[in-house]
């Protein structure tokens, strides 16, 4: 079995799963009904993509693994999601800032991953890209609406963008697994996608009348998730997500 491929699939799956979970926390709590439905829809798309990836991982690993083995039966240190997606949902502007950064990253990643020499990864990327296009449209429109809105909404949007900025570097800093996957043609060179991402971010922030760039190049970024070193927040997510399997091991319904 190709260990790098399995680890890479789990990295992508964990990203979508944890991000989808954070978005699902808005279900029933959105600032207006349409936003509530949009965030829940986006959560579903991400959890759907995570399922496809976990199923693929289970198929590769065999050994009695199923798609449920990974989200429900692993400890935090085994999760490979980036720190950005596990941070608390925060206020609405903060959720939008995180979504915007992450949707822009996912849209570029999936587009490039369609060229993967691994057919199943390419297929999942093709499917997900169509959906992420809607997600990015939603989050970037809200960045613009809040940024170019009232004095208060502008300040909140600017604060949110600055708050999550420190977590964006990890998206484009290749882990050992990614380096291995890039070498064998199965994954896109993640660092080479950064300029396109910066262009999407700077164009949108400009339209939103928000400040960019936020920090000098070469500045220090928060990282660790890709190696399994997480913030305390992941533990709280897993406590909730894994409650049933911990209380009633092997439970099915």
């Amino acid at each position: 079995m190709n260990t790098s491929l399995l680890q890479y699939i789990l990295h992508l799956a964990d990203n979508s799963f944890i991000y989808g979970h954070r978005l699902s926390e808005w279900c029933g709590h959105g600032p207006e009904l349409e936003v509530d439905m949009a965030l829940s829809n986006i959560a579903l798309d991400n959890i759907g993509a995570a399922r496809s990836l976990y199923q693929y991982a289970a198929q590769l690993e065999g050994n009695g693994k199923t798609e449920d083995s990974y989200p429900y039966l692993r400890d935090g240190r085994a999760f490979r999601n980036v720190l950005l997606v596990e941070l608390p949902k925060g206020n609405f502007a903060e959720t939008i800032a995180r979504s915007f950064f992450f949707d822009a990253y996912q849209s570029l990643l999936y587009k490039a991953l369609m060229d993967s020499s691994d057919k199943q990864l390419a297929a999942i990327a093709e499917k997900s890209l169509k959906e992420v296009t809607y997600h990015l449209r939603f989050s970037s429109e809200w960045v613009i609406r809040l940024g170019d809105g009232t004095e208060e909404s502008k300040q909140k949007m600017q604060d949110a963008i600055s708050k999550y900025w420190d977590y964006t570097g990890e998206l484009f800093s290749a882990s050992e697994t990614e380096i291995d996957m890039i070498k064998n043609g199965m994954a896109p060179d993640i660092e080479s996608l950064k300029p396109s991402w910066e262009k999407i971010v700077s164009d949108t922030l400009e339209e939103a009348t928000l400040s960019y760039p936020l920090r000098a190049d070469g500045a220090w970024f928060q990282r660790g998730g890709k190696k399994g070193v997480h913030t305390e927040h992941l533990g709280f997510i897993l406590t909730e997500v894994q409650y049933l399997q911990k209380s009633y091991p092997g439970c099915e319904w």
């Binding site: 349409e34 959560a43 297929a123």
Partner: protein, 160 residues
């Protein structure tokens, strides 16, 4: 032994659980059929959206329908590529959608038009004076619109 065509015509009885006027054939999600023997058949389907909760029900309904027609082993396989598109919907399906009160997809995605160039006519009064309320509607595949003339809100099956 039943032919692929026989199976496809049996599958005309399987409807989408969310939009029951449409069959899975109208939606274009049945991608292939392999008849293995008198008792065994494989149906290949593709999901509309990754998170669509209807897929499990559809897969179960395909199994029930074919079991009721004498098969003993029914395998439903999902493929993701090529990704499903509303271009695969039947014209008759689009007409059924409209009669059901859901505006059907307005253009062929292959031509890559801009969504904003298209007017979505109201499925109830046919007025073209309509307004997008939200890109995300009651399900992933729909957007929410409002008719400025008859004032009814309605769902639009998004081009995808």
């Amino acid at each position: 032994m039943k032919s692929k065509e026989d199976i496809l015509s049996i599958l005309e009885n399987v409807c989408d659980p969310e939009v029951p006027v449409l069959t899975i054939q109208d939606l274009g999600i049945v991608r292939d059929v392999h008849v293995i023997s008198d008792k065994e058949v494989e149906v290949v389907i593709t999901p509309t959206y990754s998170g669509c909760p209807a897929m499990n029900t559809i897969s179960m309904n395909i199994k029930f329908e074919l079991l009721a027609h004498g098969f003993e082993q029914v395998l439903v396989t999902e493929i993701l590529s090529p990704a499903w598109t509303t271009d695969w919907m039947r014209e008759s399906g689009k007409q059924k959608l409209k009669e059901y009160g859901i505006a059907p997809p307005q253009y062929d995605t292959m031509n890559n038009p801009r969504e904003s160039d298209f007017v979505v006519p109201c499925p109830l009064c046919s007025s073209t004076n309509t307004k997008l309320v939200s890109q995300f509607g009651s399900t992933a595949c729909k957007a929410l619109y409002k008719c400025n003339d008859c004032l009814e809100p309605f769902d639009y099956f998004k081009c995808h």
